[in-house]
Amino acid sequence: MRAALQTRRGLLFAVVLASLACPAWSDGPKVTLSPAGVQDNAGSVAFRLRAGPDTVAASSVPNVAPVQSSQNHYVIFVDPALTLDKTNIVLITLYLRSNLTNAGPSYRYIFSEIPSGRFLDCKSGVGLSIEDGTTTETAFVTLPLHTSDATIDFVETDDHAPAVPIDATSATSVDIGITNKLPDMDVLVTNLTAAVDHDEKWRSIALSPPFDPSNPIRIAPNHSQNFKVVVTPSFWKSVTNTVLPTTETQADDTLRLELSYASDNGGILRPFEVKRSLRFVNWPGAVLFGLIGAALGCVVIHFGTKSSGPSLGRILLSRCSSSVILIAIGVFLVANGSKFVLLTLNLDPRQLLAAFLVGGFAGVGLVDLVAFVRGLGKASAQRGS
C-alpha cells in the first residue's frame, strides 16, 4: 500500500516537473490568424502559432501604426521586420495590448506562414480573432505573404532581345533591364555577377558600377532596373570573328547576367539568369575592307574595260568615297533594325566580308559593270561569227 502511494507521489512529482518543463504560455488572449487566399485563389497561406502569448515589456513593442480590434478593446502591432529562418519558414511577430487598462501587459505572438500553391509574393489583408474568455473580437491586418515555391520568377526581362553588337576595337556597354513583377513588394538583388561563355574572346567583363553585396539593389514593384555590363573584347579574337557573315541566330558569344534576389522582406533567395547574345562588329575594319574592295573593283574594271575616261586616280577617289558612303548608309540602316539577309547569312556592313563586297560593288561601278558585261557579250559574238 505504502509502495503504491509512493509510486503515485513519484508520478505526481514527475507530472509536475514535466508541466514545468513544457512550454508555459502566459495567460494572454488567444489570437488566431485566418488563412488568406491570394491572387484569385492561385494559392493560399495558413498561419500557425509557434510561440506565445509571451508577456513582454512595453518597450519591446515596435513603434508602428496600431490596428484597433472590432470593439476597440485591443490594439495590435505587426512587427515590420519578418524573419526567414534557415529552413525558409517566414515568422511573423504580432504584439497585442489591451486598451482597457493603461498599465496592462503587452503580449507577443510568433506565427509562421504555411503557404500552398503557386503565387507571387504579395501583401494581403488577413483576418485575426482575439479571444480572452469574455469576448471575441476581430481585426484585419495587412501582412506580406510568401510562396515557398522556389521555381517562380518574380522578375523578368526581354527574352527576345536581338544580339547586341559589340565593337571589336573598344569597350561596349550592354544594358539589361530587369522588371519586378510583384504587385506591391520590393525585390532586393543581393548578388549580381556577369560572365561570358568564351572567356578567351574577352579582355574584361565588368558591371558598371560594380556591385556591392553590402548594398543590395532595390527594385520597386512593377518597375525596372537597368544593369550595365561593360565588355572589352580581345582585339584579334574578336576581329577574326568579324570576317565572315553569320546566320541570323548565330552569335559570337553569350553574356550571362546572374542575379540572386528575394522579395522584401522575408522572401526566400531566388536565382535568375539573363542571357544576351553578343555579335562582334568592326567599324574601322569594315571601312578599311570597304576601301580595299572599292580599290580592287576599280582597278579590275579600269584595266578590264580599257576605258579612255577619267584618270584612274580620279575614279579611285570617287568610288572609294561612294563605298564609304554606302557602308555608312548600310551601317545606319542595320543599326536601326534593318537586315540584309542573303541565303540565311546576315550581311552586316560592320563585318569585314560584307563591307568588302559593298566596297567592291561600289568600286566596279554600275555603269562600268554594265559596259564590262556588254563588252564581254560583244567579244563572244565576234568569236561566234
Binding site: A18, A21, C22, P23, R48, R50, A51, T83, D85, K86, T87, N88, I89, L91, I110, S112, I114, S148, A150, T151, T190, N191, T193, P213, E258, L259, S260, I268, L269, R270, P271
Partner: protein, 294 residues
C-alpha cells in the same frame, strides 16, 4: 651577421605568426550568423555562417577566435552542416540551395573540397551515419541517402518518405539505436524512423518552430531547438515515454537555429539573429549558461 640585422630578423620571425593569424581569423568581418553547428572528434566546433562561410573554432580558446576554412558564393543559401566520420576520418557535409537546385558538398576538416552531389528540389537538413549521408527534402517529406562512395554525378536516392510530413527541416542520427530523427516544419514535431524495421513514430509534437536537431549518443538525448519559442529542448530517447525537458534558454536568444553537443557535455547553441554562440552546461538542469561568443 651584424646586430641591427639580427634584431630585424628576430622581429620579423616574431611578427610572422601575428601577420598570418590576422589573415585567417574571421572575427569582425560582417555580422556573425551561425545557422548550423557540429563538433568533430578532435573537439573542434564547426560553424556554418549564413553568409556562406564555414568556420572552425577551438572551444578551449577563451577569445572565441574563428578561422574561415571554406566560403561559398552568396548566391547559394547555406542551410545545414554536419561532421561525419568516413573510415575513421571526419569530413564536413554542407547543404547549399539555390532556387530549386541543391547540393550536398563534402569537405575535409581543413576546408578542402572533396566531392559534391546535386539534387533537384530544395534540401534542408543533413546528417550522417557510418556509411552514408542523409539529406531531407524541404517538400514532399522525402529523406535522401547517398553512400559516401557514390561518384559525384549521381543524384541521391530517396531513402524514405515520411507520409505524415509535408516539410522536413533538420535531421539527426542515433548511432546506438540506428534511428533517424526528422523535424516536421509544419507541426513542430519530431518523428523517429527505426532504420532497421523502417517503422516511424512521432516522438514529440507541437514544439513551436524547430530549427535544429542534434543527437548525443553518450547521454542518448535528442536536442531540439525551438526557434520561435527560443528554447532548446532535450528528450531522453532511451526512456519509455520520452518527454521534452528544457535544456537551454536565454533572454538573449532571438531565433536560435543551431545546436551541437561537445564531448565535455557543453551544449553549443547558435543564433543567427542574436549574432552569437551560446555555451551551456548540458549536465545542469535547465542548462546553465557558461559563455556567449559574439
Amino acid at each position: 651577421m651584424k646586430t641591427p640585422a639580427r634584431v630585424a630578423l628576430l622581429l620579423a620571425v616574431c611578427l610572422l605568426p601575428l601577420l598570418t593569424s590576422s589573415r585567417t581569423t574571421d572575427k569582425e568581418e560582417g555580422a556573425f550568423r551561425p545557422v548550423a553547428l557540429s563538433v568533430s572528434k578532435t573537439g573542434n566546433l564547426f560553424i556554418l555562417d549564413a553568409s556562406g562561410k564555414v568556420l572552425v573554432m577551438a572551444p578551449s580558446d577563451p577569445t572565441g577566435a574563428r578561422r574561415v576554412i571554406a566560403q561559398f558564393s552568396t548566391s547559394w543559401q547555406a542551410s545545414d552542416l554536419a561532421v561525419g566520420n568516413i573510415d575513421g576520418q571526419d569530413h564536413i557535409f554542407i547543404i547549399l540551395t539555390q532556387g530549386n537546385l541543391s547540393q550536398i558538398m563534402q569537405y575535409s576538416l581543413d576546408g578542402k573540397f572533396e566531392t559534391s552531389w546535386s539534387q533537384i528540389g530544395p534540401l534542408s537538413g543533413v546528417c550522417t551515419d557510418s556509411r552514408s549521408v542523409y539529406a531531407a527534402s524541404w517538400s514532399a517529406g522525402f529523406v535522401y541517402r547517398q553512400p559516401f562512395s557514390t561518384p559525384p554525378k549521381n543524384t541521391p536516392k530517396p531513402f524514405y518518405r515520411f507520409l505524415n510530413m509535408r516539410s522536413i527541416g533538420s535531421l539527426a542520427w542515433d548511432p546506438v539505436g540506428n534511428v533517424l530523427f526528422a523535424a516536421d516544419l509544419s507541426t513542430g514535431g519530431v518523428t523517429a524512423l527505426d532504420t532497421q524495421s523502417m517503422e516511424s513514430r512521432v516522438l514529440v509534437d507541437g514544439l513551436g518552430q524547430i530549427t535544429a536537431l542534434n543527437y548525443d549518443a553518450s547521454s542518448r538525448r535528442l536536442f531540439i531547438v525551438d526557434g520561435a519559442g527560443r528554447t532548446v529542448w532535450s528528450i531522453n530517447t532511451a526512456a519509455k515515454n520520452p518527454k521534452p525537458q528544457s535544456a537551454a534558454k536565454s533572454h538573449e536568444f532571438r531565433i536560435p537555429s543551431a545546436v551541437a553537443i561537445a564531448g565535455d557535455g557543453t551544449l553549443w547553441v547558435g543564433d543567427p539573429e542574436a549574432h552569437a554562440l551560446f555555451a551551456f552546461s548540458s549536465n545542469a538542469p535547465n542548462g546553465q549558461l557558461l559563455r556567449v561568443i559574439h
